[in-house]
C-alpha cells in the first residue's frame, strides 16, 4: 500500500518532467518572438507557471491548516508542512526568474514595487513558519501553532495576486486568454500542467517524509491527544 502511494508520487513527477520538457521545447524553439520584448519574453513560459503553482501550493497549505485545526489528524499537519515547503521553493524560484526577466526589461534586478514586495513578504512568512517548526518539540503544539500561523500568513497571498490592480506597479497586470496571443497559449499551458504534476508529486512525497518523522516522534508511547493515526 505504501509502495503504491510512493509510486504515485514518482509517476506524477515523471509526467510533470515530460510535460515541462515538451512545453519548454515549444516555448524556446517553436513559439514566435514577441513584438516588443523579443526572445526575452520566452521567460514567461517558466515564470508564469511557477507563479501560478507557487500560489496554488500555498493555497493548499492554507486548506491543510484549516483541516488540521477543524478536523485534526496528523496527515493534515504532514501535508501542511509539505505544501508550505514546496510553495516556498517555488516562490523563491519565482523571485529568481522574475529578477532575470526584470533586468533586460526594467533595467534592474529588483525593485521594491508592490508586487515584488508583497511576494517577498509571502516567502519570508512561510519560510519563517517552516524554520520555527524545527524549534518546537511537542508535535501537538507544533501542529496547532503552525496551522494558525499559516492561516495568518495566507492573508498575503490574495494581496500578492491583486497588488498589481490595487497599486501602481512596475509589474504588468495578470495575463488572461484575452491579453495573451493564441500563439503563446500552448507552451504556457503545457508548462503550467507540467509544474502542477511535478508539484503534486513533490508535495505527496514530502508529506510522506513528514509523516515518517512524526511516526518516529510519536511512537512509543502514543500521546493521548485525541488525534487520529499519522497517515
Amino acid at each position: 500500500m505504501e509502495r503504491n502511494g510512493e509510486m504515485r508520487a514518482y509517476v506524477l513527477g515523471a509526467i510533470g518532467v515530460a510535460l515541462l520538457v515538451w512545453g519548454s521545447w515549444w516555448g524556446l524553439f517553436w513559439a514566435p518572438r514577441e513584438s516588443f520584448m523579443g526572445d526575452v519574453q520566452r521567460i514567461m513560459y517558466v515564470h508564469v507557471p511557477v507563479a501560478w503553482n507557487a500560489m496554488l501550493a500555498l493555497t493548499f497549505a492554507f486548506a491543510c491548516a484549516l483541516a488540521s485545526l477543524l478536523r485534526g489528524g496528523w496527515k493534515w499537519d504532514s501535508r501542511l508542512e509539505a505544501a508550505m515547503e514546496v510553495g516556498v521553493a517555488l516562490a523563491v524560484l519565482l523571485c529568481i526568474l522574475g529578477s532575470i526577466w526584470a533586468k533586460p526589461t526594467w533595467g534592474v534586478w529588483w525593485d521594491w514595487d508592490p508586487r515584488l514586495t508583497t511576494t517577498a513578504i509571502m516567502v519570508s512568512a512561510f519560510a519563517g513558519i517552516l524554520a520555527l517548526r524545527h524549534f518546537v518539540d511537542d508535535p501537538v503544539k507544533r501542529a496547532t501553532w503552525s496551522a494558525v500561523a499559516a492561516i495568518v500568513a495566507f492573508v498575503d497571498v490574495p494581496i500578492v495576486y491583486f497588488s498589481v490592480r490595487w497599486w501602481n506597479s512596475l509589474h504588468q497586470l495578470q495575463s488572461s486568454p484575452e491579453t495573451v496571443s493564441r500563439a503563446f497559449h500552448w507552451p504556457l499551458r503545457i508548462n503550467a500542467f507540467g509544474i502542477l504534476f511535478l508539484m503534486a508529486g513533490m508535495i505527496d512525497l514530502r508529506a510522506r517524509v513528514a509523516a515518517l518523522r512524526l511516526e518516529g516522534e510519536l511512537a512509543p508511547p502514543l500521546p493521548e491527544s485525541g488525534r487520529e493515526g499519522v497517515r
Binding site: 519548454s24 523579443g38 526572445d39 515564470h47 521553493a89 513533490m202 514530502r206
Partner: protein, 47 residues
C-alpha cells in the same frame, strides 16, 4: 516604442535555473524520503 534585441543569455539563465532548482529540490525530497524510510524500518525491526 523600444524593442529588446537579443537577450538569449537571460532566457537560457532562466531555463537553466528552473531546471537546476526543480531537479535539485525534487532530488533532495527523494533522498530525505529514502533516509527516513530506512530509519523507520530500522526502528520498527528493533522493537
Amino acid at each position: 516604442m523600444g524593442v529588446i534585441e537579443g537577450g538569449w543569455e537571460f532566457v537560457w539563465a532562466a531555463y537553466g535555473v528552473t531546471a537546476a532548482v526543480l531537479a535539485g529540490y525534487a532530488f533532495s525530497i527523494h533522498l530525505r524520503y529514502r533516509a527516513e524510510r530506512r530509519r523507520r524500518e530500522r526502528e520498527r525491526s528493533a522493537t
